[in-house]
């Protein structure tokens, strides 16, 4: 009997616990909460923009506690589709829109440079766009061809479907395909890790992530710097876009205004992106 009581007690406490949890979660949910309704803005799309949007949303929600900003990933294409279907308020895209997608309103929030990086010990400091294309398409495979020692080039690219790879293919590779034999890593971070540890490696990462563990190359004589990107000298730059479709409500306008305001742009600048102001 004692045992049964004990079990019963346990059961009751579990049920109680669950219901309390449920109640709590109801409380925090934006639409069913007690008091006034919260204003929601939903964004989805490019995983390259997502972390920056999350940061923006964090700051925004501090100043505007009545807002809830939902940020989801899914990739640029998925974001554009969701925006066309009106399932989200704002789509995020890290590539230019295609012909059939131009029906969307695009708001440029900032630019991101893609820099080609090598190990700091690598003496090669300048390459032409042509040479970079040669390396990643597999035509140039030895550092000797670029004026260094006789050693294979350990090129690193991103995986199929990545936005960074998409932009790199579009801006650098043009019509050539990336060679099958070069290494593939699944994030900006791991590409950087490979390049930082392998003296013979070359890869491409978001400009914001370049630090003293890797060295950015100048391309056609121009370094990837904020200045050069602003004056449009440096060419490997992709836009970070917010997309809306049709009529938009005031909540969305307030959030977008915050993103393109001085405060919002400063947050993006601190993350290493190139603001529009």
């Amino acid at each position: 009997m004692f045992l049964r009581n004990n079990l019963m007690n346990k059961f009751i406490s579990i049920v109680l616990f669950c219901s309390v949890m449920l109640l709590c979660s109801c409380n925090y949910s934006p639409t069913t909460g007690f008091g006034h309704k919260k204003k929601t803005v939903t964004l989805a799309g490019s995983t390259s923009i997502m972390p920056f949007t999350e940061k923006l949303a964090e700051h925004f929600m501090v100043d505007h506690p009545e807002f809830v900003i939902n940020v989801q990933g899914g990739g640029s294409t998925a974001g554009i589709q969701a925006c066309l279907n009106k399932t989200i308020d704002i789509g995020m895209s890290s590539r230019e829109l295609k012909q059939e997608e131009t029906i969307l309103n695009e708001i440029l929030i900032c630019h991101d440079g893609i820099s080609v990086v090598v190990h700091p010990r690598n003496p090669v400091s300048a390459l032409t766009l042509e040479q970079i294309r040669g390396i990643f398409s597999g035509h140039i495979r030895n550092w000797k061809e670029l004026g260094w020692i006789d050693r294979k080039i350990d090129a690193v690219t991103r995986e199929e479907g990545s936005g960074t790879r998409g932009s790199f293919e579009e801006l650098v590779m043009k019509n050539e395909e990336i060679y099958d034999g070069i290494m593939v890593q699944d994030s900006n971070g791991s590409v950087k890790e490979v390049v930082a540890t392998d003296p013979y490696a070359i890869g491409y990462i978001s400009l914001g992530l370049v630090d003293n563990r890797v060295r950015a190359l100048s391309i056609d004589g121009i370094y990837a710097s904020v200045e050069n990107i602003k004056t449009k000298k440096y060419k490997i730059v992709r836009p970070f876009l917010f997309l809306t479709y049709g009529d938009i409500n005031d909540n969305v306008i307030i959030f977008i205004n915050f993103v393109i305001s001085k405060n919002g742009q400063n947050i993006l600048k601190k993350e290493g992106l190139i603001g529009i102001l």
Partner: protein, 287 residues
């Protein structure tokens, strides 16, 4: 009172059976789900174009995974080359030579080795094995060789524990008979004990292969993930598991289905390996 207790016993039995069957249900559901997601692409692109296709560019309509199948087998073979001799020697030492005290120390150590998460192996691989291979052998370091070394260590616990059991199950009388014929200890082990435990040892190798072919995290970190079939042991390569884990984050539509198709192929390979290990070999033991 007795009747009540009896019915309670019954209830426990049924409840336990239900739970036991639930694991079967999960297996079944996973199967259905993977086939459901992966098969449509086989229908659309064609079995031959997927399994024997050389080009993987899912966003451009090519779904060939042949290089990955080859690479998966290459790393598995490489892992066996490194893991099998080490594991078998360890098992022989444990069962034939080591004293009780050393055994008490070695066995828990092996279990600990089995319990280390694969991401830790991968991390150690990136930090130590990859630079070592790069410096002493050349190449990028992210290679078939590094992957084989890491996987070889990872399959050690599987190989050792199963072949140890197989060696221990060889009857004492075999050994005594051999000694009585005047054979030395090594002759006994090499000519009598190991051949008698042959099928169990083979099963341990095959289960080790299953572990190696299914390993993902550590492999992604050290294999380099290039799409080509490697031409030397210093070339980077991509395995089936690596392909799924690497590209899942961004995949949509056909690309996503392509990854599930990779999963179907992987599932089939692992099923065949397990079948061989469980039935093909163990049945021989019974005979």
């Amino acid at each position: 009172m007795i009747k009540k207790k009896f019915s309670k016993e019954h209830a426990v039995r049924w409840v336990l059976m239900l739970f036991a069957l639930s694991s079967l249900l999960f297996l079944f559901l996973i199967f259905i789900f993977i086939l459901f997601e992966g098969l449509p692409l086989f229908h659309k692109i064609g079995l031959k174009n997927i399994i024997f296709g050389f080009k993987w560019a899912p966003t451009k309509g090519s779904f060939g995974i042949f290089p990955m199948i080859v690479s998966s087998f290459l790393v598995t073979f490489g892992a066996l080359v490194i893991g099998a001799p080490l594991g078998l020697s360890c098992a022989i030492y444990l069962s034939e030579y080591s004293g009780k005290r050393l055994k008490m120390f070695l066995k828990p150590a092996l279990e600990l080795l089995a319990g280390i998460p694969s991401v830790v192996y991968g991390f150690l691989g990136v930090v130590y094995i990859v630079p070592m291979v790069r410096n002493y052998f050349g190449g990028a370091g992210f290679s078939l060789l590094s992957t084989s070394i890491i996987l070889g260590v990872m399959i050690l616990p599987t190989i050792i524990s199963i072949s140890f059991d197989a060696l221990m199950s060889v009857p004492r009388t075999y050994r005594e008979g051999s000694f009585a014929m005047g054979a030395t200890k090594w002759q006994t082990i090499f000519r009598v004990v190991v051949p008698s435990a042959k099928s169990g040892i083979l099963a341990s190798f095959i289960l080790g292969m299953g572990r190696a072919i299914g390993e993902t995290m550590a492999v992604i970190m050290v294999a380099g993930n290039a799409l080509k079939i490697p031409t030397s042991i210093l070339d980077p390569l991509r395995t089936l598991t690596g392909n799924i884990a690497l590209e899942l984050a961004y995949a949509t539509g056909d690309h996503r289905q392509g990854l599930f198709s990779t999963g179907v192929v992987l599932l089939l390979i692992i099923m065949i390996l397990n079948y061989i290990a469980n039935f093909g070999i163990k049945r021989k033991v019974i005979k």
